[in-house]
């Protein structure tokens, strides 16, 4: 490992350890009651003790997030392709997409809960927030093909299908993956927000519902445990898509390479 590499990993890790230790020390030395601020050790103990409940909730939230994300990928990419093939449709439908994007999902959730079951409403909320970045990034990517390469394809009489498959889609890939990284994080946010809205309506068992429930019961360590799981999930989603981008782009895309110095 080179020296720079060591610094890259050592300092963030060290900082994290110091922060957690300081937290633990503060709670113990100042005798802070656990219903105000539990020590990290207590959060871990709670996490293990309540794993049967929290683990099941984690699975619910994860399922919602990934189902929503899958729907957002299929919907976003298909719509971007349709927009690309037929521009008037883009002009006609883009305002709807923008309205969906700028209206905070928390304000739509109660309405959705009137129309559908809470499980479906949560799914739709998560889909709504993840959908737009994937759609707009993919649409941008499809339109960003190198003009000279487009000329070259025209010169050799490429069919529209060849142009799409061999030029437009590869050009759009880095943009799509950027949208996916944003959309992946947002799908989790959407799922959590909707779970909180649905949770207060009475039927929910995702991680956000556990947070609301713990709040009512003043089980703060459990609330921290659920929060911890949500953070870890968000980080893992981000790392997963960053890894995927690296896998698909590192051979050729500038964003994946360090500059030569």
């Amino acid at each position: 490992m080179t020296r720079e590499n060591l610094e890259d990993y050592l300092f963030p890790t060290l900082m994290l350890v110091i922060a957690v230790l300081a937290w633990e020390a503060y709670v113990r030395l100042d005798h802070v009651p656990s219903f105000l601020l539990p020590a990290p050790s207590e959060v871990i103990v709670t996490l293990i003790k309540d794993w049967s409940t929290l683990g099941a909730s984690l699975l619910v939230t994860l399922t919602t997030t990934f189902e929503a994300l899958l729907a957002a990928i299929v919907g976003g990419v298909s719509l971007a392709l349709i927009f690309h093939l037929w521009r008037p449709l883009e002009r006609a439908f883009f305002p709807f997409a923008v309205v969906m994007q700028v209206t905070p999902v928390i304000s739509v959730a109660p309405l959705l809960l009137v129309y559908m079951s809470s499980g479906a409403a949560v799914l739709v909320c998560a889909f709504l927030v993840a959908f737009f970045p994937i759609l707009s990034n993919t649409a941008l990517g499809l339109a960003s093909a190198d003009h000279n390469l487009l000329d070259l394809f025209e010169l050799y009489g490429a069919s529209p299908w060849q142009q799409l498959r061999l030029l437009r889609l590869p050009s759009a890939l880095p943009y799509f993956l950027g949208g996916l990284r944003i959309g992946g994080g947002l799908a989790l946010v959407g799922a959590i927000v909707a779970e909180i809205a649905a949770g207060s309506a009475g039927a929910g068992s995702g991680l956000a519902y556990r947070i609301v429930e713990s709040g009512f019961r003043l089980e703060i360590p459990r609330m921290f445990a659920a929060l911890f799981l949500i953070s870890i999930t968000g980080i893992l989603i981000f790392l997963f898509f960053t890894g995927l981008s690296w896998l698909l782009l590192h051979r050729w895309h500038d964003s994946m390479r360090s500059r030569e110095r």
Partner: protein, 258 residues
């Protein structure tokens, strides 16, 4: 050599009264007549904005002229080299050169021999699996030339291909291009704004004047003189450079008065 005939058979490509006006009202080309003959190295020389690239695009069929006509003797058969290498960054060198054949429905296995020969002709054997990102500017341009040649076109159209390269790389590529051209016997239509490059490479130079773009002078360069360091340092070269420079200045002065 066939190139100097002029009076011989019909020209390979002939442009008659070709004009191009853009929507903005700019007249890029006005009434251009040109004959491209078999086997010649024909260069369009002029300042930026004289429409030399537009002529190339019209010959290639990438842009439609607003008037006049372009006639090919037989089926158009051309390769195009852009100012930038214009490689697909997501494909390796082999796949980039395979692209024109791929678009014509030739499989990778069927194309293998032709792609390897094209790469060998530009001195890039062994780089098949490299990605464009890993190549120098000169090597990228070589890949671009190999791609233009892989279908063995009758005419190679080159739009200021070496403009972005350093002087040393450019001189090397100039020599290699001439060797390559002799080997494959293709006709070349070359666009440049460098007087030196045009004299070194061409058998015929067409000097263009700007605003509106039009043909201002035509100068023949002895195609039989061997192009090497001696040629570059000799009196014949110096004389031709002076002549072409003068023609270029005359073309630009004419434009200022107009």
């Amino acid at each position: 050599m066939r190139s100097d005939g002029g009076g011989g058979g019909a020209p390979l490509i002939s442009l008659r009264g070709v004009s191009k006006a853009f929507k903005s009202g700019t007249v890029a080309l006005q009434n251009v007549d040109l004959d491209i003959r078999d086997g010649e190295f024909f260069t369009l020389l002029g300042p930026s904005g004289c429409g030399k690239s537009t002529i190339l695009r019209i010959i290639a069929g990438l842009t439609a002229g607003s008037g006049g006509k372009v006639q090919w003797r037989g089926q158009p058969s051309l390769g195009f080299v852009f100012q930038e290498p214009t490689l697909a960054p997501w494909s390796d060198v082999f796949d980039n050169v395979w692209l024109p054949m791929r678009l014509k429905g030739v499989s990778r296995a069927q194309a293998d021999g032709d792609v390897r020969r094209a790469l060998a002709s530009v001195g890039l054997t062994g780089f098949e699996r490299a990605y464009p990102r890993e190549l120098s500017g000169g090597m990228k341009m070589r890949v671009s030339i190999a791609r233009a040649l892989v279908l063995k076109p009758a005419v190679l159209l080159m739009d200021e291909p070496f403009a972005a390269l350093d002087e040393i790389t450019r001189a090397k590529l100039n020599d290699d291009l001439l060797t390559l051209r002799t080997a494959i016997g293709a006709t070349v239509v070359f666009v440049t704004h460098s007087v030196y490059e045009s004299v070194y490479l061409s058998s015929r130079i067409c000097v263009m004047a700007p605003r509106p773009g039009r043909v201002s002078a035509e100068i023949e360069i002895d195609p039989l003189a061997t192009r090497d360091e001696d040629f570059r340092l000799g009196p014949y070269y110096a004389e031709r450079v002076r002549e072409v420079s003068a023609a270029l200045h005359a073309a630009m002065d004419g434009a200022k008065c107009a």
